[in-house]
C-alpha cells in the first residue's frame, strides 16, 4: 500500500490512465507515446528532475468508467503515484476526478475535452493540458465568424456535439455572426442528407461542424454539393485517422488543435524528429503532442518546487505556470486550471506523398484569442 512509495523519497511516480483497448485505443496509445517522449525531453533523457527519479505506470481504462476508477485507485493506493494523467475519454476522466480530490493528488487531464471537467465537476487538484470543447469552439468561431456572416451548424446529437455548438454559438455571435440553423443528427445514422438539405435551404455562408468519431458525414456533405452552392464547410482538423476520412473536405478552412507541421518551435521540432526516429518514420499525431505536454507540465512544476511533492505547493506553483510545449507556450489559468493554448486556423490541402488532407496554417490563434469562459463557478 501507500507507505512503500512514500518511504522511497527519491522517486516520483506518475500514473497514466489511457484507453489502450476499445474504441479510443489510438488516442490512448498516442498519449502514452507522447508522455514518454515528453518525459525524456523535459528531463533531457535522464528521467530525473530536481534530483528525483521519475517513473510512470500506464493503466488501460478500456474506455469504461468503472475500470478507470479501479485502475486509478490501484495507481493511487498500490503504486502510490504522486500524479495522475489521463484519460482518453471524458467519461473515464470525470469518474476519476473525485479520486484526485479524495487522495489529494494532482491530476493532469489529457486529452479529455468535456467542459465540465474544468467546469462544474472541477476540483482544485485538476489541471488540464488538453484543450476543452469551448476552446475548440472559440477557435472555430475565430476562424470563420465575422460581422454579417451567416453560419449553420451541424453536430452529433450527444453531449460533445451539443456542448461544442453551444460554445461556438456564443463565440460566433460575439464576433457578429448569426447562426441560422442548428442541426443535430443521430451519431449512428446512415443518412445525413436530410439534415444537410435543411442547411442548404437556409443558404448560409458557412457550415460549422462538430463531429468526433467514426461515422462522419463528410462524404455526404460533398455529395450534396455544398461548396457548389456557396456554402463553405468548417470544422476541426483532428487526428490523422480522422483526416484520412476527410478527403472530400479538401480546401476547407477550419481549425486544428495540433498537426506536426503547424507549430514552429524547438520543442515541436524535437518531438517530430524523435518520434520519427523511434517509430519508424511515423509523424506524431494530435494526442502525442498532448501526452508530451502533460509530461512537460509535471516536470516543470517539480523543477519549480525543487522536487517538493507537497500538493499545495505544487498547486500554487502550477497556477499561472507558463511552460513550453510542442504547441508553444501554455499557461494554466489560475481560476480553473485550464491550460490556455494556441490553436491553429488552417485550410486542408492535398500534398504529394501524403495520404490525407494536410492542414496548412493560415494563422495561429494565440492563447488569449482562444481563451474560453470560466465555468467552474469560482
Amino acid at each position: 500500500s501507500g507507505d512503500k512509495a512514500s518511504s522511497d523519497e527519491e522517486t516520483i511516480k506518475i500514473g497514466v490512465l489511457a484507453s489502450l483497448t476499445g474504441p479510443l485505443e489510438t488516442y490512448g496509445k498516442q498519449t502514452v507515446a507522447g508522455f514518454e517522449l515528453g518525459l525524456a525531453y523535459a528531463t533531457e533523457g535522464s528521467n530525473n528532475a530536481a534530483g528525483k527519479k521519475i517513473e510512470f505506470i500506464v493503466e488501460d481504462t478500456e474506455t469504461k468508467p468503472d475500470v478507470a476508477v479501479r485502475k486509478a485507485t490501484k495507481l493511487l493506493e498500490e503504486d502510490g503515484v504522486d500524479f495522475l494523467v489521463g484519460s482518453s475519454s471524458s467519461g473515464d476522466t470525470l469518474a476519476v476526478l473525485p479520486l484526485a480530490e479524495e487522495y489529494e493528488k494532482i491530476m493532469v487531464v489529457e486529452p479529455a475535452v468535456a467542459d465540465s471537467i474544468t467546469g462544474q465537476n472541477w476540483n482544485k487538484y485538476i489541471f488540464r493540458t488538453g484543450r476543452n470543447s469551448s476552446q475548440d469552439a472559440v477557435a472555430g468561431a475565430a476562424a470563420i465568424a465575422e460581422k454579417n456572416v451567416k453560419i449553420a451548424t451541424f453536430a452529433q446529437d450527444n453531449a460533445y456535439g451539443r456542448e461544442g455548438i453551444a460554445a461556438f454559438k456564443e463565440g460566433a455571435e460575439k464576433l457578429g455572426a448569426t447562426i441560422v440553423n442548428e442541426q443535430y443528427a443521430d451519431p449512428n445514422s446512415t443518412d445525413f442528407t436530410a439534415n444537410i438539405q435543411s442547411i442548404i435551404n437556409e443558404k448560409p455562408d458557412y457550415l460549422y461542424i462538430v463531429w468526433a468519431g467514426s461515422n462522419a458525414p463528410w462524404k455526404q456533405l460533398k455529395d450534396m454539393q455544398l461548396e457548389e452552392q456557396g456554402i463553405k464547410i468548417s470544422t476541426a482538423a483532428q487526428d490523422i485517422a480522422s483526416l484520412k476520412t476527410m478527403d472530400s473536405l479538401m480546401g476547407m478552412s477550419g481549425f486544428s488543435i495540433y498537426y506536426h507541421s503547424l507549430p514552429d518551435n524547438k520543442v515541436n521540432d524535437w518531438l517530430v524528429e524523435q518520434h520519427k526516429k523511434k517509430f519508424d518514420g511515423e509523424i506524431p499525431d494530435l494526442f502525442t503532442a498532448g501526452g508530451m505536454t502533460a509530461a512537460i507540465s509535471i516536470v516543470e512544476a517539480l523543477k519549480k518546487t525543487d522536487g517538493d511533492k507537497d500538493v499545495d505547493a505544487l498547486i500554487s506553483t502550477m497556477e499561472n505556470m507558463e511552460f513550453e510545449t510542442p504547441k508553444g507556450m501554455m499557461k494554466f489559468r489560475a481560476e480553473d486550471h485550464q491550460a490556455l493554448q494556441s490553436l491553429y486556423a488552417v485550410t486542408l490541402e492535398e500534398q504529394e506523398g501524403v495520404d490525407h488532407p494536410v492542414p496548412v496554417l493560415i494563422r495561429e490563434l494565440n492563447m488569449e484569442e482562444t481563451e474560453p469562459p470560466i465555468r467552474n463557478g469560482e
Binding site: 500500500s1 488501460d60 473525485p98 460533445y160
Partner: protein, 318 residues
C-alpha cells in the same frame, strides 16, 4: 466461501483487488437478476441494462441534488426500485405475451429509448458526459463498501433463492418448459412472468444503485447494450438457472477481463482480449450449455451415479 470473502480484506491489503471484488459483487447481483429471467423463466431480455441504469441514475441524481447522507441513499434506492418495478411491470404487461425473440428485441428498443432519454434530458443527467457526485462516508471507505456489497450479494442471493424455491419459483420453471400446460393447471403465465420481470427489474435496479455509488460518477454508459451483454455473458458462462452460477460468472468474466487486459500491457496480442472472451462464451454455449454450474453438477451427478452403480454391482456380486 462467504467466510473467506469476509476475511479477505484482512489477509489481502490490495485496494484494487478490493475494488475488483466489490465490482464483481455488484455485477453478481445484476447477473443474478438476469438469471431470474433467462434461467428461471426462459425470458430473453436484451434491455436489462435499463433497470441497472434506472437504479444508477436515481441514486446519482438524488446525491447530485441532495446531501450525501445514508437517508438520501435509501430515498434514491427506493425511487429507483419503484421506477424499475413500474417500468418492468408496464413493459411486461404490454409485451410478455410476445415470443422470446420479439420480447428480446422490444426490450432492446425500450432500453435504447432510455439511453436516448438520458442523453437528451441534460438538465437532469448532463447528457453523455455524465456527472460526479459525492456519497456518504461509509460508501467512500473501500473496506466498508466492500462489506456492504458483500452483504448485499449474500442477502440478494438468499432472497432470490427463497423466491426460486417458493411455489411461484416452481411455477416459473414449469412455465419456461411448457407454458401451455402450466396454464391448463390453473396458472396464469402472464402473472408469473410479470412477477419474474418485476423481481429481476428491482434486483437489477439495486445493483445499479450500488454501481453508481461505487463510481461516484454516472454517465449514459449504464444504459448501453454492453451492460446487458455483460449480464448475459456472466449468466451464460456461470450457468443459467443457478443463482450461484451467475455469481461465479461475474467473477470469472471480471477476473478474465482484468488479467487479459493486464497481459495486453506486455503481450500486445492480448489487446484483442474481447475475442478471447467471445470465443470462451461460444465454447461454453456449445460445449457446456448449462454453463460452469451445470458442468459441475453433471460431474458430481456422474460420480454419484457411478458410486451408486458400483454399490449395486457389489450388492449383486455379494
Amino acid at each position: 466461501m462467504l467466510l473467506f470473502m469476509m476475511l479477505f480484506p484482512f489477509v489481502n491489503d490490495s485496494r484494487s483487488m478490493l475494488i475488483l471484488l466489490t465490482q464483481i459483487f455488484i455485477f453478481a447481483i445484476f447477473a443474478m437478476s438476469f438469471d431470474i429471467l433467462l434461467g428461471y423463466t426462459g425470458i430473453v431480455s436484451f434491455g436489462h441494462c435499463m433497470f441497472f441504469g434506472i437504479g444508477a441514475y436515481s441514486t446519482a441524481i438524488i446525491f447530485n441534488h441532495l446531501e450525501a447522507t445514508l437517508f438520501n441513499f435509501i430515498i434514491g434506492l427506493a425511487i429507483g426500485i419503484i421506477l424499475s418495478a413500474l417500468v418492468s411491470y408496464i413493459i411486461g404487461l404490454l409485451s410478455l405475451r410476445l415470443k422470446s425473440h420479439f420480447y428480446a428485441m422490444l426490450t432492446l428498443a425500450v432500453s435504447q429509448l432510455f439511453l436516448v432519454l438520458a442523453e437528451k434530458w441534460r438538465g437532469l443527467t448532463h447528457g453523455g458526459d455524465g456527472f460526479t457526485f459525492s456519497v456518504p462516508d461509509v460508501f467512500k471507505d473501500r473496506t466498508s463498501f466492500y462489506y456492504i456489497t458483500l452483504l448485499s450479494v449474500a442477502v440478494v442471493f438468499l432472497l432470490l433463492k427463497l423466491f426460486t424455491e417458493s411455489s411461484t419459483g416452481k411455477v416459473l420453471k414449469a412455465i419456461s418448459q411448457n407454458e401451455y400446460r402450466a396454464e391448463a393447471l390453473g396458472y396464469k403465465s402472464l402473472h408469473y412472468k410479470l412477477i419474474a420481470s418485476v423481481t429481476a427489474g428491482v434486483a437489477a435496479s439495486f445493483s445499479g444503485a450500488l454501481y453508481a455509488v461505487s463510481l461516484r460518477f454516472i454517465n449514459t454508459n449504464v444504459f448501453s447494450i454492453e451492460v446487458t451483454l455483460d449480464a448475459l455473458l456472466m449468466t451464460m458462462i456461470g450457468g443459467i438457472g443457478t443463482l450461484a452460477g451467475a455469481i461465479a460468472g461475474a467473477g470469472i468474466i471480471e477476473f478474465l477481463r482484468h488479467y487479459l487486459s493486464e497481459l495486453a500491457m506486455t503481450y500486445p496480442i492480448f489487446e484483442r482480449w474481447t475475442i478471447i472472451l467471445g470465443l470462451l462464451y461460444i465454447v461454453v454455449l456449445l460445449g457446456f450449455p448449462s454453463g460452469l454450474a451445470g458442468f459441475i453438477k453433471r460431474i458430481t451427478l456422474n460420480n454419484k451415479m457411478k458410486a451408486k452403480k458400483k454399490g449395486e454391482l457389489e450388492r449383486t456380486t455379494a
